[in-house]
Amino acid sequence: MKVEIANLSIAFPSPRGPSLAVRGVSLTVGSEKLGIVGESGSGKSLTARSLLKLLPPEARVRADRLAFDGIDILQATERQMRSIRGKRAGLIMQDPKFSLNPVMTAGEQIAESWRLHRKTSKREAREAALDLLAQVQIRDPARVADAYPHELSGGMGQRVMIAMMMAPDPELLIADEPTSALDATVQAEILRLMEDLVSRRGMSLILISHDLPLVSHFCDRVVVMYAGRVVEELNAAGLARAEHPYTRGLLACLPTLSHPQARLTTLTRDPAWMDGSN
Amino acid sequence: MSDTSLRAWLLSDTPTSRRQAGWGRLYRLWCDLRTNPLAMAGLITIILLIVAALAAPLLAAYSPDAQDLSNHLAAPNAAHWLGTDELGRDILARLLWGGRITLGMVVAVVVLVAPVGLVVGCAAGYIGGLPDRILMRVTDVFLAFPRLILALAFVAAITPGITSAIIAIALTAWPPYARIARAETLAIRNSDFIAATRLAGASRTRIILVHIIPLSLGSLIVRVSLDMSSIILTAAALGFLGMGAQPPSPEWGAMVASARRFIVNAWWVPMMPAIAIFVASLAFNLLGDGLRDVLDPKQRS
């Protein structure tokens, strides 16, 4: 499995002409864990979602190449996309409160995902759902399976979401800020769980976040985006060698215990970053 | 001020006065509305109807009451563009004059109802507590009657006629206005800028009049424009059932009622006023629908 993105642009129509949200992004993802980091509006989510063709209908996408395992996404029909979505690439979104269907039980939603790509009976699917819930370390799978999303905590909901996306055994998992809506204490747990599942199944992972140190902790490689462009690509281990002032600024903003500061540093933005000339 | 500089002034991102901000907002809404052909068709129709009704004495070639029994139930022709009715009266002339009644009733109802609903709803929403609960109960009661039926009962109790019809429709029309104003107020009431105004020492009356009412106006205007068609239809139904304007008044609903029995032999006699009602009500619906799209961004694509 290999994801190739070359010179990807995504524009939205606005009263004053199209506004570019992603401007010429190029990256490749192989069998690895890639982190994409940037602030809101940097285009990181759009870039990842364009892989599944899950952009808002008014979005205009252009790219020299946008391919999933050799399949040209821009040319792919809806039918072809459906054979990629879920089955080969899963998507986990920010807040399970909104991303789970409020009127279906957790079990039904996982079973639906399981049955979609395998022709099995309802009972088998339910058992598979319980098994998946156990795999995402839910202690009482039967109870959670019969619960509606609003009856679950955020962490629980996100586990259900992970179980649902793991059900068809995809090759790639895209996690779009999977922990931003969760309590700080649960965040690490969920990320560890995800990392564990991904490694054990030999999947690739695209982890989108605004938290640079967190991402570098869980990923092999980190891409930093700003205003619709990739400003820096780093090995997670080489974070300290970041060159772009934006990345360095982000790192400098973090307070550390080893070098206490009286006043937290803030990021000063250089308009030149917008042009991609650094 | 030239056209381009006026446009720039209106579209400025940094208005320098409250007046400029207000006009700029209106201009943007207008730009949005202009792109909706259905809404514009509605607006133009409404303007034409108003002009035609106001200019009825100039436009009508005949008096609406002039009878010509030798020429009754005439089909549309060069002399009588829309034909004549059972008493030989010119249908076009009657429609033009009747437009005054229909539009007049709509305006009268809105003028009676909108301010009352707005003030009552905003006050109840802002004050809260018991007055609010009582108001909601009262609106519940009025909303529990289908509009036409309550109006019919009212008119029957007073005396059939245009004035009673206006009062009856007004009585049935106010609760939704009060509810909308209240809902808007509840949304605005807890915002920070109202808290700031209160801290600055503004009185309750001032907050309601200066801050809450202007902000609730938008959704009220949408409601009014959508309600217009319902008012027209209710007034016409009252006329049709003999409970509104009384013959020989050229009110459109009453015209349909008195010509109903000719529907098979001379369809144009009852159909012309019916079409007039339909056109007026559709025009308001189109405009209201377009306004809702513009003023309520959530509904927009």
Binding site: R82, S83, G86, F98, M104 | A153, I158, F240, M243, G253
Partner: protein, 337 residues
């Protein structure tokens, strides 16, 4: 459990208060008459002592609250007074005319739902396309057209010109009075008692008024369905459903529609109540022997007991339909259950 009981009590209380309000409003409508009710009954030239006697008999010399109390007490004993026109107790009249309205409104409701809901879904799914615009125009026209115009047009076209459907009334004269009255709904009664000719005839008579009424409610149902669907389709869980690789029809019907049908039931209940209003005009045009026609006839004869009785009954039906919608909503939606 305790919480649920409390909600139930609160709902019951609010229904009772609303119905109480309905009776107060109805009572006062009956009392705003500018003409003295006694003069209305006895005429202008009644001797003064007779007027005084009747005034006491009717309780009109009592204070207003006391008059209301009498009105309310009678109401509890299901006494709405007598109709001057039919000389029967008003409630008995209403019982006789209501089934025909119920039959008409239900038929209209079924048609309106079966057409309106899929149309609304279609418009939402194809938002902004030509399909959406056409549906929008069709539904706006439906809420702009006067019911009497549609009714007359239908009579001219399908009865007078084409002769496809029978004209006014509930059934042709030859079949009148053959079927024993069981439910009061002719189509149902004829089917129960196997009077198939009458059944067929009555069904044909039902088509026109039902379709006219249906268009009127379909317009509303379509617009509401479209709005709800647009909201639902914007939900994050729809993105999830798409990311799972589900087909468009599963996403639309299971995931989006699955989230709105409970809300739609509320709309349907309200629409049904609105049909009672449309029925007044429709029944008048089609000479349909229902509550609407009863109301119009009473209005034209200034038969106030009948007018107020019918108004109040329609109001109460309206309240109970709302209550039904509320209860169904609580039962069906897992989020409030």
């Amino acid at each position: 459990m305790n919480g649920r009981l409390r909600t139930l009590a609160a709902t019951a209380a609010s229904v009772l208060i609303t119905i109480f309000g309905l009776t107060v409003v109805t009572f006062f409508i009956g009392r705003v008459m500018p003409i003295d009710p006694i003069v209305a009954i006895l005429g202008d030239h009644a001797p003064p002592d007779v007027v005084a006697r009747v005034r006491i008999e009717l309780g009109l010399n009592q204070p207003l609250w006391y008059q209301y109390w009498i009105f309310f007490r009678n109401l509890i004993h299901l006494d709405l007074g007598r109709s001057v026109m039919t000389t029967h107790p008003v409630l008995q009249d209403i019982g006789r005319y209501f089934p025909a309205t119920f039959e008409l409104a239900t038929a209209a409701m079924i048609v309106a739902t079966l057409i309106g809901v899929p149309l609304g879904v279609l418009a939402a799914v194809r938002q902004g396309t030509r399909t959406d615009h056409i549906v929008r125009i069709v539904s706006l026209a439906g809420s702009s057209i006067p019911v009497f115009m549609l009714a007359m047009l239908s009579l001219v076209v399908f009865y007078a010109a084409l002769g496809w459907l029978p004209g006014t009334g509930q059934v042709s004269v030859v079949y009148d009075g053959i079927v024993p009255r069981i439910t009061g709904m002719l189509v149902i009664d004829a089917a129960i008692t196997s009077h198939w000719n009458t059944f067929y005839n009555a069904l044909l008579h039902l088509v026109q008024p039902a379709l006219v009424l249906a268009y009127f409610s379909m317009a509303y149902i379509t617009r509401m369905t479209r709005g709800f669907m647009l909201d639902a389709l914007r939900g994050e869980y729809i993105t999830t459903a798409r990311a799972k690789g589900l087909s468009a029809s599963t996403i639309i019907w299971r995931h989006a529609f699955g989230n709105i049908w409970v809300q739609l039931i509320t709309v349907l209940a309200l629409t049904y109540a609105g049909l009672l209003e449309g029925a007044v005009v429709t029944e008048t045009v089609f000479s349909w022997p229902g509550l609407g026609q009863y109301l119009t006839n009473s209005l034209l004869n200034a038969d106030m007991n009948a007018v107020l009785g019918a108004t109040m009954v329609i109001g109460i039906i309206y309240v109970f339909l709302n209550l039904l919608a509320d209860v169904l909503y609580r039962m069906m939606d897992p989020r409030v259950r």
